[in-house]
Structures are given as C-alpha cells and as structure tokens.
C-alpha cells in the first residue's frame, strides 16, 4: 500500500468506516512506515480531543413539545392550502357576480371577456398569496418589531 492510499484509509479507520480487510491492510502499512505512523498518532489525538468537546446540555423537558410543534405545522400547512383555495374561489365568484352584466353581454368580444377574467383571477391569486405571506411572517418572525 502506498502512503497516499494509507492517508485516506486513516480517515476511514478514525471514523469507523473501514472493513476488517481494510483495517488489516492499513495496520500492515503503519507497521512498516514510520512517517504514516506518526501522522496516525496525531490524527488519533485530534479525534480524541474533538470527541471530548461536548455541546452544552439542555433541560430534559426540551423535547416535550417538539413533535407536537412539527405536527401542528404539517396540519396547518394543509389548512393554508385549503384557505387559499377557498379564498380564491370565493373572491373569483364575487368578482364574477359584480361583473356579471359584462360577462353575459353578447355584444362584448370574447377575447375581452377572457382578458378581463384572467386579469381578475391573477389579481386575486396575488392578493391571497401576499395576504397569506403577511399573516405567516407576522406569526413566525420575532424580529418584526425591529426597525429597518
């Protein structure tokens, strides 16, 4: 085994990612190569030091509501989709009612009716989307009171 290959295998050995055969081959190389052996000892020491670095502990109750919060977000996500769809349908129906005379007038050209219809529908979708975004950001953004 060449030193280049041994260097990569050292990482695998350090991180418990090697097979028995690879470990054996690496050990044979380390037994015969003083330079790699010295390097290996330094890496082992470094690994020991990083593994001794412990994150600050957190209270036992920390995880109590974790799943409930994720689950609620999932449920509310579906709620927002339904809210958006319902709002778009209702607003589109309202707009149609308001402009019923225009849409039912046979003298108005069809292309104009399609254009006005798409324009109104687009505006409604944008309105609902912005409304939803504002409501969601307001709910989750704790920095909303910070002046820009």
């Amino acid at each position: 085994m060449k030193c280049d290959e041994a260097r990569l295998l050292m990482m695998g050995y350090l991180d418990n990612e090697l097979t028995e055969d690879e470990i054996k081959a690496l050990q044979e190389h380390l037994d015969s190569c003083a330079k790699c052996r010295a390097e290996w000892e330094s890496f082992k020491e470094l690994k020991k030091e990083t593994s001794e670095m412990k994150f600050k502990p957190f209270p036992e109750m920390f995880w109590d509501d974790y799943w409930e919060n994720v689950y609620n977000r999932i449920e509310r996500g579906i709620g927002w989709i339904l809210f958006s769809l319902g709002a778009i349908i209702l607003l589109a129906f309202g707009a149609y009612e308001l402009l019923e005379d225009f849409f039912l007038n046979p003298k108005e050209p069809m292309i104009e009716k399609i254009g006005v219809g798409l324009l109104i529908l687009g505006l409604i979708v944008i309105f609902v989307s912005v409304l939803r975004e504002k409501l969601m950001i307001r709910k989750v953004d704790k920095y909303r009171r910070v002046l820009r």
Binding site: L8, G12, E17, K47, E52, K54, K56, Y66, Y71
Partner: protein, 185 residues
Amino acid sequence: MDAKISDKEAIDACLNGNKEMYRYIMERYKERAYYLALMFTKNSEDALDLSQEAFYRAYRSLKDYDTSRPFYSWFYRILKNLCINFTNRHKRLVRMDDYVQTATLDLGEKPDELFEQNERSAIVWRGLKKLDDKDREIILMKDFNDFSYQEMADALGIPIGSVMSRLYYARKRLLKILQNFKGDL
C-alpha cells in the same frame, strides 16, 4: 418508538397519508438537526424553531426525496438553506452588517457559547475557527454532527473518496494550526 422501522418504511407510510409515521423520522434525527441549526444560529431557541421548520418543510417535499439515498443528507440541505436565510435575514434586520454575509457552519464567537467549558476544548475551538469554511464544514459534519461518509458524500455531492480526502487535508491543516498554537505558548 419502534427502532426497527426503517426511514424508507416510515416515509412510504407518510406518502400514503399516515402523518404519524413521520414521528419515527423526527425522533431519529431531531438531536442532530437541533445541533446543526445551533452551529448556524448560536441560539438555542432559534435552533429549535428552525429544526422544527426544516422537518415540516421536508415533510412537505417528501415526494421529491429519493428513498435510496440517506434521509439526513437530503434533510441537511433543507436545514442548511433555512439557517442561511434566517441568519442573513437576521443580520439585515438588526443592521449588524452593511453587507449580507453568507452564513456558514461555525462554532460561535466564544468557546463557551455552544460548548461546555474546558481548556483543551477552547484551544481546538480556536483552531477550528481559523480553518476556512470548507475545511471547517467537513470536520463539523463528521465530528460534531455524526455524519456517515455516505451521508456526507450525498450532502456535498462528492464521491466517498473525496470525502476522505477532504477530511484528511482539513484535519491535517487543523493539526498544523494547533501545533502553531503550541509553539506560541
């Protein structure tokens, strides 16, 4: 929770409408997700919130997830993007910087910000801070967030051989920095 249920089984059940099965995934990865977010935000409350949001977003995108790949490496990208957006947005709002800096995986401004106080740990912490972002990221993924090589390869989009090679050079550079510290003492 039944540890025998695999990620794939749980995710397939979720895709068939059984939302409760997502709990298996979340229980399995919540601590790693939290600590990963903590390394971006340096704040426990934000890390908790962002890791939960990442689980929600991952659930929403489950249909795009390839179950033949490790879940955590896919989830890592979602959480990392959320943390970067959050950190940059936060920086803008509180006017700490005149420019938007790209947030990176890091260990806080002081050694005791995230870690239990320990003299030797503080030295390693200083060494890690001196590394460039790429070297630091790969060491933190492995040594502080328990990534497997397969997970790292998937998360970073590189072969496992490159993961080992990047780890080798990153650790080598860290060792050199630590040796210089000893020389300074």
